[in-house]
């Protein structure tokens, strides 16, 4: 795919990098002139995906998380991937309130939030290989729809 702009990030699966990752992606997406709400949506979705990689993918062991973001027109595409343990049952993992780690007080809302805050969400995963999340959001979609 031909992106008009691209960026890549790679960082260790430390929880202190969660804020760094969401702020970096939001800053990259800000060239599309998003509203405060759209920026908050992107930050939250990125935070969910990165947190999933840290807690579930690497189970708090150290590994690398990669982020790719690309811009096509007014759409930002964000890919977040890890080389962790993968998701056995994607359908189950995506169900609202489902969590494989209730003992850690996980709310089970991560995927639901990603789906709600972004326009599209795709999950690819293979056990012992890793997980890749691909999300897209068109900036200004609501504003454009409201115009006559």
């Amino acid at each position: 795919m031909q992106y008009e702009n691209e960026m890549r990030l790679e960082f260790l699966s430390k929880s202190s990098n969660e804020a760094f990752a969401r702020v970096a992606v939001a800053a990259f997406a800000s060239q599309l002139d998003p509203t405060i709400e759209e920026i908050a949506d992107i930050k939250t979705a990125v935070s969910e995906a990165v947190t999933n990689s840290i807690i579930h993918g690497y189970e708090n062991r150290m590994g690398y998380i990669k982020i790719f973001a690309g811009i096509i027109g007014s759409t930002v595409e964000i890919e977040i991937s890890d080389s962790g343990k993968g998701i056995e049952n994607i359908e189950l993992a995506m169900q609202p309130l489902y969590t494989s780690k209730p003992e850690l007080e996980r709310s089970g809302m991560g995927f639901t939030i990603m789906e709600n805050f972004m326009d599209s969400l795709e999950v690819e995963s293979a056990p012992e290989t890793g997980t890749k999340i691909c999300m897209r959001k068109t900036i200004g979609a609501e504003r454009n729809a409201q115009q006559p």
């Binding site: 908050a40 939250t44 935070s47 969910e48 947190t51 709310s107 991560g110 639901t112 939030i113």
Partner: protein, 111 residues
């Protein structure tokens, strides 16, 4: 994070002052639980005026504390929740369980 205990009404005010994500959640959980155990408050008020960001990890922390307080026959409410944080609470169904008030005074009068 600031913790303030109002003795006469046995109210614990928890003023969270950070981005409420997985990274922050462990510390908040530990400190708030220690205070709840020590003071056994009847009411816990989470003041969110300093929370500019929250994701589902924050939901887990708030729901967990809410359940603990409930179990001890207490109540928990939230005040000063910003719109971007409110959206996460709404999607997660938290707004249906935990009452929200505009500000601290309203909560102190009504709870």
């Amino acid at each position: 994070m600031e913790l303030e205990f109002i003795t006469e009404s046995r109210t614990l005010v928890v003023r969270i002052d950070c981005e409420l994500d997985h990274h922050a959640s462990d510390t908040i959980r530990r400190k708030v639980d220690a205070e709840i155990q020590r003071l056994t408050p009847r009411k816990v008020i989470f003041d969110f005026s300093g929370v500019s960001f929250m994701d589902s990890s924050g939901i887990g922390v708030i729901m967990g504390r809410y359940k603990n307080v409930k179990r001890a026959n207490g109540t928990a409410v939230m005040v000063n929740v910003r719109p971007e944080v409110k959206r996460v609470l709404e999607i997660s169904g938290v707004t249906k369980l935990i009452p929200q008030y505009e500000n601290l005074n309203q909560a102190l009068q009504n709870v």
